[in-house]
Amino acid sequence: LAKTTQPISMDSYEGQEVNITCSHNNIATNDYITWYQQFPSQGPRFIIQGYKTKVTNEVASLFIPADRKSSTLSLPRVSLSDTAVYYCLVGGPTGTASKLTFGTGTRLQVTL
C-alpha cells in the first residue's frame, strides 16, 4: 500500500513560487501521482496528474524524479486564493481503488 508523506503546513507570500513535496517510497510500477486542492467546506478538486518526469498545465507543474519515490507540486506566483489544503494521491488504474491513498495534506497559507 503506497503511503504518502507531506509537510503539514507551509506559508508563502503572494507572488512567490511554492513547491510542495510528497514522499511515496512504496510507489508501485502502475501507480500515478495526482494532486488535489481542497478549500474549507468543499470537496477536493483535481489539480494535476503525472507518471514520470514533468507535467505542466495552466495552474501548476508536477516534477517526478526518475526513481518516482517523491513528487513536487509547483505553484507559480501564488495568490491569496491559493490558500487551501493540498493532497498528494498515489494510486493505480481503475479497479485497484483500495490502493488509493491520500496523503495527510499540506495546509498552504498565502499572505500579502
Binding site: 468543499q42 477536493p44 478538486r45 481503475t94 481503488a97 483500495s98 488509493l100 491520500f102 496523503g103
Partner: protein
C-alpha cells in the same frame, strides 16, 4: 454540466440512530467512491463502486457501515446505530473509467454530527 451532488448537506442525529447519506454522481461516470474526513484530518477511503458492484469494501470501518449503488447512478451510504466517532464529513466522488488513475470529481460532502 451538473457535478456530483450529495444530500443532505448537513445531518444531525442522536447516538444509536441510523442515517442514510446519498450521492448522485456525474452522469456517465461508472466509478463512485466514498470517503470520510474527520475535522482537520485527511481523506479516509471507505468504499469504491465500479458500476453497481463494490470490488473493495475494506475501507468500511465496521459492520455498521454499508453502501449500495443502483442503476450505475445513485449511491447510498448507510450508518447503523451511529456513534459519536462517526461524526465527520462524508465525501462522494465519481470518475470515468479511463484505464489509468481516474480524475475524481468530488461532491460538497455531507456533514454528519452525532450527538
Amino acid at each position: 454540466g451538473a457535478g456530483v451532488s450529495q444530500s443532505p448537506s448537513n445531518k444531525v442525529t442522536e447516538k444509536g440512530k441510523d442515517v442514510e447519506l446519498r450521492c448522485d454522481p456525474i452522469s456517465g461516470h461508472t466509478a463512485l467512491y466514498w470517503y470520510r474526513q474527520r475535522l482537520g484530518q485527511g481523506l479516509e477511503f471507505l468504499i469504491y463502486f465500479q458500476g453497481n458492484s463494490a470490488p473493495d469494501k475494506s475501507g468500511l470501518p465496521s459492520d455498521r457501515f454499508s453502501a449500495e449503488r443502483t442503476g450505475e447512478s445513485v449511491s447510498t451510504l448507510t450508518i447503523q446505530r451511529t456513534q459519536q466517532e462517526d461524526s465527520a464529513v462524508y465525501l462522494c466522488a465519481s470518475s470515468i473509467q479511463t484505464g489509468r488513475t481516474d480524475t475524481q470529481y468530488f461532491g460538497p460532502g455531507t456533514r454528519l454530527t452525532v450527538l
